[in-house]
């Protein structure tokens, strides 16, 4: 535990890429392979088990430290990190330095710690869990406790990207970073052997269903004219769904999310559709929720994807489709280095149906009801190109994006190969300008992490008569200086406190930007906004000058193309 905790704090303490890589290499070289495997899983953000609920952990820590629970809660509200709060209040801390300088062995190695104090707790009664937790507290230093608490509650995130981890492993094993990135994507790293084969110089068996690392687009920062001739580019709609790769090989079919989770059980109809693809095919594209001729909003897809296993009812209510926009492998051959134009031609022969989505001028009956089942059998489409003989023409198409339920346009250089990661230059996302309204701060809560102790989590509302109805939570978009100033205003205008949440007198007005609006039964306002963030603080506006619910309803009507 000490070695991994040291790594955690080294990574936390630096912003230098080189220092991070050095720390990672040092860790992977010195850790026994079973620990390295375990550490790698955590670093890659693998789904973690929540062995103990945070509610119980707080209670136990409070009793162990002989403090009232409310005081622990107040401390947490101040610190903004539960793992850290609990580590700091627990008594009888062994010291962090000098103890156990011996590098080859440590009393509680990560893998054993994981087995005994985290996985071993699964299904055990709370009394047993508590005993293990208290014993572990006694064995760990405060810094180790923080990391262990995060592991225990399934929330250990480390500030390194997978690309960085792959680079460190590549440097220590003399392999190409891309090879490691691919292996890391496909293999589940559980045991010492798994780790050793990951860094082995020989090709491994784990390669059979692996996807390719995703090519990520960058937001376009200048006018598209600066990209040169429009003839060198292809434009597609930027679908508002979930990025995925469909892998069809002799070993089977796999649908991979960008988070590198297999989603076969969540999207069985896509798996079925993929059976018609020839062996040795890998598609890159987007999972979308759609009735034929009617694209459903992202919130529906999100609801669908939240089910680990999609049952019959939800499959009927929220049908899924896969819209492919790239072909990475065909006939078992990696074609990523071929130009996009060629890859697309091959894609169209494999996936001939074109996805129409929703026409810009919808509003007819098709948006409201299912169409007959005949055309709904098709689950797999390719993404059509958006025509435009000039950048201006494309700009016009982009303006229809919101009505079409897409996020804007994608611009891809037709000669580009399918790269790894997010290199700039060949793939751009050209999103539609966000919608904006002025909203009033209604509730505030202290932030976490770097913003701990400051009230930076805002719930904003618009006017419905004399009442504020909340429409969005927003966390980002203001400078640190503004956050500090606003924090003071929040403290001085608090009317009520409910635990960490403060209800404030309406005084602060913010310009709220968001990508789209849709109807929602979850929110009291009946409206959900997508990707809300704060565009700026409107010091010049009085609260009553902010938007009303009917303003939002107008936006909703425009977005859905209805009167």
């Amino acid at each position: 535990m000490k070695r991994f905790s040291d790594l955690y704090w080294k990574l936390d303490g630096t912003t230098s890429t080189n220092q991070k890589i050095e720390a990672l290499k040092e860790y992977f070289v010195s850790a026994p392979p079973e620990d390295a495997a375990c550490g790698l899983r955590v670093l890659c953000g693998a789904k973690q088990l929540r062995a103990v609920s945070t509610r119980l952990l707080r209670q136990w820590a409070a009793e162990f430290a002989e403090l009232p629970l409310w005081l622990v809660e107040e401390s947490y509200a101040h610190v903004g990190d539960l793992a850290e709060t609990l580590a700091l209040i627990l008594p009888d801390q062994p010291t962090d330095d000098v103890s156990n300088q011996n590098h080859s062995t440590e009393p509680l190695p990560l893998s054993r710690c994981f087995e005994e104090t985290i996985r071993g707790l699964k299904g055990k009664p709370d009394s047993h869990k508590r005993q293990v937790v208290e014993e572990t507290w006694k064995r760990l230093t405060p810094r180790e406790r923080i990391v262990w608490h995060k592991l225990l509650t399934g929330g250990c995130r480390v500030g390194v990207s997978r690309t960085l981890v792959a680079r460190a492993l590549a440097e220590m094993s003399d392999l190409e970073p891309a090879v490691l990135a691919e292996r890391m994507m496909a293999a589940t790293i559980e045991t010492a052997e798994d780790f050793q084969s990951l860094i082995s110089p020989h090709p491994t068996s784990a390669d059979s269903l692996r996807p390719y690392p995703f090519f990520l687009a960058s937001p376009i920062s200048n006018e598209p004219q600066e990209l040169g001739s429009v003839m060198d580019w292809q434009a597609e709609w930027k679908w508002d769904g979930m990025r995925a790769q469909v892998v069809r090989r002799s070993a089977g079919i796999s649908i991979w999310s960008r988070g590198e989770e297999r989603m076969n059980d969540a999207f069985p109809e896509i798996v079925e559709a993929a059976e018609h693809l020839p062996d040795g095919t890998v598609l890159d594209g987007e999972l979308l929720a759609a009735h034929p001729n009617n694209l459903l909003p992202f919130s529906m897809l999100s609801r669908r994807a939240s089910r680990k296993r999609a049952g019959k009812k939800i499959r009927t209510d929220i049908p899924a489709v896969f819209v492919a926009y790239d072909l990475l492998e065909t006939q078992g051959k990696d074609i990523r280095s071929e130009p996009l134009s060629l890859r697309r031609r091959k894609l169209l022969t494999l996936v001939p149906s074109t996805f129409q989505g929703k026409p810009a001028s919808s509003g007819g009956p098709a948006t409201l009801h299912h169409t007959p089942a005949t055309s709904s059998d098709i689950r797999m489409f390719h993404s059509p190109l958006v025509d435009g003989a000039s950048w201006d023409e494309l700009a016009l198409s982009r303006q229809q994006a919101r009505q079409r339920g897409v996020e804007g346009l994608m611009l891809k250089r037709i000669t580009s190969s399918y790269a790894h990661g997010r290199p700039r230059g060949d793939w751009w996302k050209w999103k539609v300008e966000p919608l904006e309204i002025d909203a009033v701060l209604h509730y505030a809560q202290a932030g976490h992490g770097r913003r701990a102790g400051l009230h930076t989590d805002y719930t904003l509302g618009v006017w419905d008569g004399e009442q504020l109805v909340t429409i969005a939570k927003a966390y980002s978009g203001l400078s640190d200086k503004e956050l500090i100033e606003i924090d003071k205003i929040i403290r001085s205008t608090t009317i009520e406190r409910h635990g960490p949440v403060r209800v404030v007198r309406p005084t602060l007005v913010f310009q709220l930007a968001f990508e789209n609006v849709s109807r929602s039964t979850r929110h009291k306002s009946g409206i959900a906004v997508r990707f809300p963030r704060i565009a700026r603080w409107r010091r010049d506006k009085l609260p009553h000058e902010a938007a009303t619910l009917s303003d939002l309803k107008v936006l909703l009507a425009q977005a859905t193309g209805q009167q």
């Binding site: 403090l67 005081l71 679908w239 770097r450 701990a452 400051l454 640190d480 403290r491 990707f531």
Partner: protein, 362 residues
């Protein structure tokens, strides 16, 4: 019967003795617990402070101010009210003010700590009926490491920087913390330098007879002072200015009790922090309350409502006393007015991870 001390628009007032303690507006008679700017403000007719704090207060109030002094534990009758000053351990000349009248005794701590500090007298517990305490760090997460341990960490860090030719910079309040830090440094590692704001107070400390290692003024136009082996003590506000760039390659560390929290360190954008405070931590606060023997406790600046609630649950008569010594619980409101200048040190934009999902869709 009215309270012996009460909050008025000008500050904490003793009506029976017609004097104020640490008033925030000019008054005729001000008893000063210590010379930090939020406790000692200019403009009053007469000041009273503990004798060891005379030079420091003079530096702050200017040569024109009328300053009377009282030795620690010496009694003075002000309009029939018994007043005495007792070491608070916060910085040189810092006092707890004991006020006794008609059989009732109040103690106002000002700011205080129980830890050792060779640059000032140690806190002495004074029995009283009503104890007015600060609560800057009044949460159980705040427990200070031993100052010797921190001193060792700082010297080790300094030595490592010196060995690689990087000048070390410690950010700490110019009054109190800076001098305490100097006393903890090991001068065999390299030369010690002080920012101008620090040096003025170093001189006041020396004039008061406090022993400090040699501290140099920073020569003009210097780079790599002390050949890269040097250490500079500067106020946190200096971190945001170009002043800091003159030293070439540096390692910068902030020295503050708030450095205990990872979130605060990250928000300040300073990777290195040393945990050293001139305020009581939570266990020491509890201990100070207990040893005062007071049945009534008034809690000022810091986690006031939380500490008051806790003490109430422990059977004491505890309330919040709203003073203007500092803001509320915001760490960035810090400890003193000096500390407020840290706010300017923060000019990093927040990293936007919140919209990350938006980036992921394609």
């Amino acid at each position: 019967m009215p309270d012996l001390l009460e909050i008025t628009p000008k500050g904490l007032f003793c009506a029976a003795g017609n004097f104020y303690i640490d008033p925030w507006r000019p008054v005729s008679h001000a008893v000063i617990t210590h010379a930090h700017a939020d406790h000692a403000r200019p403009g009053s007719d007469r000041y009273l402070c503990a004798a060891p704090g005379m030079h420091v207060l003079r530096t702050r109030m200017g040569s024109q101010a009328l300053i009377d002094t009282l030795k620690y534990n010496e009694h003075l009758s002000i309009n029939g009210v018994d007043v005495s000053l007792h070491p608070a351990g916060h910085l040189l000349g810092s006092s707890q003010v004991r006020v006794s009248h008609r059989g009732t005794t109040w103690v106002v701590t000002g700011d205080y700590k129980l830890q050792n500090d060779s640059t000032c007298d140690c806190f002495e517990s004074v029995p009283c009926d009503v104890f007015v305490t600060e609560s800057t760090f009044g949460l159980p997460v705040y427990r200070w490491p031993a100052p010797e341990t921190v001193a060792h960490e700082i010297n080790t860090w300094w030595k490592a920087n010196a060995d690689s030719g990087r000048t070390s910079v410690l950010l700490a309040y110019a009054l109190g913390k800076a001098q305490r830090l100097a006393s903890l440094l090991d001068p065999s590692i390299g030369p010690i330098y002080g920012h101008g704001a620090v040096m003025k107070l170093v001189e006041a400390y020396r004039a008061s007879g406090v022993r400090l290692p040699p501290i140099n003024r920073i020569p003009p136009h210097s780079r790599k002072i002390g050949g890269g082996r040097g250490i500079v003590i500067a106020p946190p506000s200096a971190a945001a200015t170009t002043w800091i760039n003159r030293f070439g390659e540096t390692s910068i560390a902030m020295v503050s009790g708030w450095m205990l929290l990872r979130g605060v360190r990250r928000r300040r954008g300073i990777p290195k922090g040393f945990i050293l405070s001139d305020h009581v931590d939570y266990p020491d606060l509890m201990q100070a309350v207990q040893s005062s023997g007071a049945q009534r406790v008034l809690v000022t600046h810091g986690f006031t409502d939380i500490v008051a609630r806790l003490l109430t649950e422990q059977g004491l008569n505890a309330e919040v006393l709203a003073t203007r010594f500092v803001g509320e619980t915001n760490p960035d409101d810090g400890v003193t007015d000096e500390d407020a200048s840290d706010l300017q040190a923060i000019n990093r934009e927040p990293t936007d991870t919140d919209n990350k999902d938006a980036e992921d869709a394609q």
